[in-house]
């Protein structure tokens, strides 16, 4: 609550994160899994002296390097960019816990880029052993990058034994770390096989497709096994509130179904590819399969994010950016008293006297509604646009003023995915006044 809030109409600012993150994950996982598939392909081709396979893999490597280095790297930075804008408290906390984890990831990222460039640009110049080694260095560094980032992202869902006094390694090796590494490694192999399936269907002659698709499908099926093992582990370590969210929230239920459905279809496709080779696949089918893979990843990411509510960092920071430890103070003193930007706005933009900030419930109705609107932006707008994503206006449309008041009073008890009310009683009244005015068509 110490930072200014950026409101993005219709979408909510935090929803910009998946807009950047989901395309990134689809490409970044290709960058990881594709590394193994390419290194394996090149190794196999050199050992069997297959110039035709090497020629095809060179074409694939060009597409791979362009897509993963340009799009993957920029969108990866983009996620970091966006979380700083939309959730500064949580980003700051993550950086203060994991700064040297990120720095370590930077080192492997440098290796990833250098080895990828060497692998592709020196294709004709490297000796076979050097070329193979370059491919495996790339695959290993890309996978290490995945492991390091997973330590950070999994921490947000399961902080485990970590407390602000504990060190980096307690946070990094949190309960869902290993399951998520397995899921992401498996997902990377699977999505890489689907990306390469599209490339093969477009660029490789049929005999080569026949040969390569079963080879890549084997990697993908191993990936699916990792997803299964990791998935079971993941559900076993999920916090209770996250499990509850997945059952209670219709959107998360739909995402769960999509995730399972898409994963099963992909598994069947890999099985078919493994058994029947490239005969059954053509460009539209390959694209459709990639789309299905993308749906599996998207729904999985959505589940991971959605299940975390009401926290941004489990047990440490609530969705509106308030640390759990600060809640009693905020409930006692009021949210405005601890939000300097909000104070500035109310005093300087709205011209409210300083003494009114401590008890907005006593203000005349129009001003109380204005205070309520500002409180809404600081407390609710991170997850609820007025109209659009999780829209507040359509949500409360059928409600009576009494139901609105009741819902705000029992925020966390009405819905466990909601944080508790983070202000004092007078501020709660101001928010209720705003929501009632909103429901009546104002303010």
């Amino acid at each position: 609550m110490e930072y200014p809030v950026w409101v993005v109409p219709f979408l909510t600012a935090p929803m910009l994160i998946p807009l950047v993150a989901i395309p990134h994950v689809i490409v970044a996982q290709f960058a990881v899994g594709g590394g193994f598939l390419l290194a394996d392909g090149v190794t196999w081709a050199y050992r069997h002296r297959r110039a035709d396979v090497l020629a095809y893999l060179r074409d694939l490597a060009r597409f791979f390097v362009l897509l993963t280095i340009v799009f993957g790297a920029v969108t990866g930075v983009g996620i970091w960019w966006t979380i700083g804008l939309t959730a500064p408290e949580s980003t700051s906390a993550l950086i203060h816990v994991f700064v040297f984890g990120w720095a370590t990831e930077w080192v492997v990222f440098v290796l990833e880029i250098v080895s990828a460039f060497a692998f592709y640009y020196l294709w004709d110049r490297l000796r076979p052993r050097e070329h193979m080694a370059m491919g495996w260095v790339y695959a290993a560094s890309a996978w290490l990058s995945l492991v390091l980032i997973t330590g950070i992202t999994s921490f947000m869902l399961t902080t485990g034994r970590w407390t602000p006094e504990r060190d980096f390694f307690t946070a990094f090796f949190n309960p869902s770390f290993l399951p998520q590494v397995l899921i992401r490694t498996g997902g990377s192999l699977a999505i890489a096989a689907l990306w390469i399936g599209v490339h093969l269907s477009l660029r490789a002659p049929e005999p080569l497709r026949e040969e390569m698709i079963p080879r890549f499908s084997r990697w993908a099926m191993a990936g699916m096994a990792l997803i299964l093992i990791g998935g079971l582990g993941y559900f076993a370590v999920l916090p209770d509130h996250a499990r509850l969210n997945m059952v209670r929230a219709p959107l998360l239920l739909i995402m769960t179904a999509l995730n399972f459905g898409a994963t099963l279809i992909a598994l069947a496709a890999f099985g078919l590819g493994h058994l029947r080779g490239g005969r059954w696949i053509n460009p539209p089918e390959a694209l459709l399969m990639l789309l299905i893979g993308a749906v599996a990843i998207t729904s999985g990411e959505f589940l991971r994010e959605g299940a975390r509510k009401p926290y941004r960092i489990e047990g440490y920071i609530f969705s509106p950016g308030v640390r759990v430890a600060e809640v009693p103070t905020l409930q006692r003193d009021g949210l405005i008293a601890h939000s300097p930007w909000l104070q500035q706005y109310l005093q300087e933009n709205l011209g409210l006297p300083e003494e009114a900030l401590g008890d907005p419930a006593r203000l005349p109705e129009p001003q109380k509604v204005q205070v309520g609107e500002a409180l809404y932006n600081y407390h609710c707008a991170a997850c609820h646009a007025l109209d659009g994503y999780n829209g507040m206006r359509p949500l409360i449309q059928p409600w009576t003023p009494e139901i609105i008041a009741d819902a705000v009073r029992h925020l966390h008890r009405t819905n466990p995915a909601m944080p508790p009310w983070l202000g004092n009683e007078a501020e709660r009244e101001a928010l209720i006044a705003y929501l009632v005015a909103l429901q009546k068509g104002g303010p």
Partner: protein
């Protein structure tokens, strides 16, 4: 008093001085690669007509400069957010849409660089990339200016707050930000010139490239020195009190010194002068990187005393980083050595 948030309650992972040193190191690395594209692309656009061979060599290097420039840019931003989150986040949130816009613009620019490198619409693609990347540079300068100037926050907030939240359409592109961009661009012409001299001197033997680069190097340095001198003479007096005199002199005079060496290169091109020029330019970058970071730290230091922020002592994760760095450098050395040897062999 601007509403500066309190330092993160988790405290500093290690003492601030180490974080600051890493931030300077990262900024220096970022500058070296970023300047290659900042001036390299406009220079390539200008050279396509008169010196297409040099333009082609420059453009061929751009995808690498972009990849490593973006990658190295992560380092100073990471340590900036560790040292000064309470300054950096409000400054970028107030300009949220412009800050966010950097990502799609960078994607377009990066794609344009590859198009040019692969020979598709070379002039147009380089021009688009040059314009977009210069604009991104301006946005960066604006964000960093506002990070160190909390006194400017409330004016923007008052003008852009609706219902207590900001709409994020402000851009703090003031005189100072533009002057710093000018300084950076001035140095960048020198970096491109030093890169070309290095390429001609130490790359694969290419008499044609060496002949074409020879008159270009001093010319680019003179353009760079002009820009650097103009922007610097207007900017330096505003920060003179925030910088030790020795550092001020090093940052100011390193560029004229490198320009003299460029002149020498124009007269006597060869490995010796090229090597000296590259080293001199690295000196320009290092002295200016340190000076810039010191100025920023002094400006922010008016509002926060980092010495008062508790230190957690996360030495275990530092060890992980250092071990990975050491191993990584070993692997990197092997890759670079292999690449060096193989690219020098006949195709």
């Amino acid at each position: 008093m601007p509403p500066i948030p309190k330092p993160d309650p988790l405290g500093m992972p290690i003492p601030a001085v180490y974080l600051f040193a890493l931030k300077v190191f990262g900024f220096f690395l970022h500058m070296a690669f970023m300047q290659l594209w900042l001036a390299g692309l406009p220079v390539a656009v200008a050279l396509w007509r008169f010196r297409p061979y040099v333009a082609e060599r420059l453009i061929a290097a751009m995808p690498f400069a972009m990849a490593f420039g973006i990658n190295a840019g992560i380092v100073p931003l990471l340590f900036l957010q560790t040292l000064y989150p309470q300054f950096f986040y409000p400054a970028t949130i107030l300009q949220a849409w412009f800050w966010f816009l950097i990502i799609p613009l960078l994607l377009i620019a990066y794609t344009a660089v590859y198009l040019a490198a692969f020979g598709r619409w070379r002039v147009l693609a380089s021009l688009i990339a040059a314009l977009l990347l210069t604009w991104i540079g301006a946005q960066f300068a604006a964000a960093m200016t506002l990070t160190a100037r909390p006194e400017g926050w409330m004016g923007i907030f008052r003008a852009t707050a609706t219902g207590g939240a900001v709409h994020g359409f402000a851009l703090a592109l003031d005189r100072e930000a533009l002057l710093r961009l000018g300084l950076m661009a001035g140095m960048a012409f020198g970096t491109v010139a030093a890169f070309l001299a290095g390429l001609a001197g130490f790359g694969r033997r290419d008499p044609e490239l060496a002949a074409q680069v020879r008159p270009l190097v001093p010319l680019l340095y003179i353009i760079g020195l002009g820009l650097f001198g103009l922007a610097g003479s207007l900017y330096a007096p505003t920060v003179a009190d925030r910088l030790p005199a020795a550092l001020q002199r090093a940052a100011a005079f390193s560029m004229p010194l490198a320009t003299l060496l460029a002149g020498l290169y124009g007269v006597r091109p060869g490995r010796g002068t090229a090597g000296a020029l590259v080293l001199a330019q690295l000196g320009v970058l290092l002295s200016n990187a340190i000076a810039r970071q010191v100025v920023q730290a002094t400006e922010i230091g008016r509002w926060v005393d980092l010495g008062q922020v508790p230190v957690r002592g996360e030495w275990g994760s530092v060890a992980l980083f250092l071990i990975t760095l050491l191993l990584g450098l070993g692997v990197l050395a092997w890759i670079l050595r292999t690449a060096w040897v193989r690219t020098r062999e006949a195709p």
